[in-house]
């Protein structure tokens, strides 16, 4: 008997999204199964961030279908979608400047049981323990990125939407983030990664979706990556 495929944590069908009058996404069909790491690659302005925002209902209008863990979410308010078990790490980190590091860490609601306890998070990110009383934006960029990641691990979310988490960070920090994503994958987290730094994502992801002008231009499985490098460079304008 063939082994059953892991359940679908996220599936979009014909997803379209608008900001006011601007039509950004033109029918996105993608699927992410439990435990997978999937990247959304593409040039700036291709619509990758909008896909993450549309999944969470943070765009002006959306149509089509978005199922999170089997639940249809189009028409659902953002806070209820998040409570289905989504952890979101926005572009530019979204650290709150008038909250301390610890308040930032404790802000997201627990969405599922099984999140990392605070002690474990501080053991993973000792810098955050040292700076827990500082205001969130008074710590370094790398520490802010760790904080942005740490705060969603506390919530018990199993589907992580990570937007450009390596942007503007020193190579050594990028390397530790790479290690962190690897550990999370090993622990069975499902991850959708919007990434500009293709090399960061290359050996982490199971599949790469290439986004162009609000549509999926290509889907490259991990095993075809080497053979598709030329094509990919063309898509990304490298």
């Amino acid at each position: 008997m063939p082994e059953a495929e892991p359940r679908e944590m996220l599936r979009t069908r014909g997803l379209q999204a608008w900001y006011g009058e601007s039509h950004i996404l033109h029918g996105i069909d993608l699927v992410v199964r439990e435990g997978e790491v999937v990247t959304l690659l593409g040039r700036n302005g291709a619509g990758r961030t909008t896909i993450l925002k549309a999944i969470l209902g943070m765009v002006g209008r959306r149509s089509g279908s978005i199922e999170v863990d089997g639940v249809e979410t189009v028409g659902m308010p953002t806070h209820r979608i998040a409570r289905l078990g989504i952890g979101y790490c926005p572009e530019e980190r979204g650290i709150f400047s008038n909250l301390t590091v610890e308040e930032n860490l404790l802000l997201p609601r627990e969405v599922r049981a099984g999140g990392l306890p605070l002690e474990e998070i501080y053991a993973m990110f000792p810098n955050l323990l040292e700076r827990r009383g500082s205001l969130g934006t008074r710590i370094s960029g790398g520490e802010q990125q760790m904080l942005a990641m740490a705060r969603i691990l506390r919530t018990g979310a199993r589907l992580l939407l990570l937007d450009e988490i390596t942007e503007g960070l020193a190579p050594v920090i990028v390397q530790s983030l790479h290690g962190l994503i690897g550990k999370l994958k090993a622990k069975g987290f499902t991850i959708v990664l919007v990434e500009q730094n293709f090399h960061f994502a290359a050996n982490l992801a199971d599949r790469h979706y290439v986004i162009e002008r609000g549509m999926i231009a290509d889907m490259i499985p991990c095993e075809d990556l080497v053979a598709s490098t030329g094509k990919l460079n063309q898509y990304l304008g490298v």
Partner: protein
């Protein structure tokens, strides 16, 4: 200028100051999360005072209990609840619809609501005002402060208002609920993505902010005459307090409210005709020197 005269006026100023503080605190909380310059605040302060007054004089006969007079302590709870509920209805039905527009729309809408409320009450109760007779007997008499005899009720009003202001500050600055509010002030969309029901939080915050105004109205009822224009007389000064303290600043509104009340009192001793102008003079200076206000963050 005797010490006694100065301290007496400063104490009376402090008495006004706690009302400025409570009202500007509500405005700051509302502005912070809703981005609305809530011009109906003064009218809801007036409404709070009327809940106490009418509860004491007219509610009993209206519900078939001619001897019932709503107790002052009951009014302290009932008025914020009634006015808070009305505020939440206003937020849900009107303010929510204009949230995405410029501040000016909220200001105009709430200004219109203030005029309607004031107009309706003026029609029924005229502008001369009525005294509130429901002050508990325990507050009859005065306390010797050494430099003056200060009415017991005014001491209670000062202490109660200070307690409410600092409790509010504590909740906003030191609790988890407060961290939701502060985060919501900064980036409400992201707070929603963290599973927090921000629209409900906005409704409750507006209800709380106007509830504070109503509580100030009940506390003020035994001191000032209860009249339909009591709010509009107060609100302009309170907005000056908010501007001086820094729009949206919680501690700024409390400290500035208290200080400016005392400055107003002190000015009465030095040059009485300037006492109603001094706050606006300070506002102009602060706007020129530090436009974000004394406690506000520069953009």
């Amino acid at each position: 200028m005797s010490f006694q005269a100065v301290m007496s006026q400063v104490m009376l100023g402090l008495n006004n100051g706690v009302f400025y503080a409570m009202l500007s605190l509500g405005l700051a909380v509302i502005f912070g999360l809703l981005n609305i310059v809530n011009f109906v605040h003064g009218a809801l302060y007036m409404l709070g005072a009327y809940v106490a007054l009418l509860g004491f004089t007219r509610l009993g006969p209206l519900v078939g209990l001619p001897d019932y007079q709503m107790n002052f302590w009951v009014a302290l709870v009932a008025a914020p609840l009634v006015v808070g509920a009305l505020g939440m209805a206003i937020e849900r039905t009107m303010l929510r619809r204009i949230r995405k527009f410029d501040h000016l729309y909220g200001l105009l809408l709430t200004f219109g609501l203030a005029l309607i409320l004031q107009g309706v009450f003026t029609n029924y109760f005229n502008v001369s005002g009525d005294p509130y007779e429901g002050k508990p007997e325990i507050f009859n008499g005065a306390v010797n402060l050494g430099f003056m005899f200060f009415p017991k009720y005014r001491i209670f009003a000062i202490l109660a208002s200070l307690a409410v202001c600092f409790a509010t500050w504590f909740v906003i600055e030191r609790t988890k609920l407060g961290s939701y509010l502060r985060a919501g002030t900064e980036n409400p969309e992201l707070v929603k993505a963290f599973g927090v029901n921000v629209p409900l939080m906005i409704t409750l915050t507006y209800g709380f902010g106007v509830g504070l105004a109503a509580l100030a109205g009940v506390l003020a009822a035994p001191i000032y005459s209860v009249s339909p224009v009591m709010g509009s007389e107060m609100i302009i000064t309170v907005f000056a307090v908010v501007v001086i303290g820094g729009m949206g600043s919680i501690m700024g509104s409390i400290v500035t409210g208290l200080l400016l009340g005392m400055v107003e009192g002190f000015t009465k001793v030095v040059y009485a005709p300037a006492s109603s102008t001094v706050i606006f003079l300070i506002m102009v200076i602060v706007l020129l020197v530090k436009p974000a206000g004394l406690f506000g963050k520069e953009a």
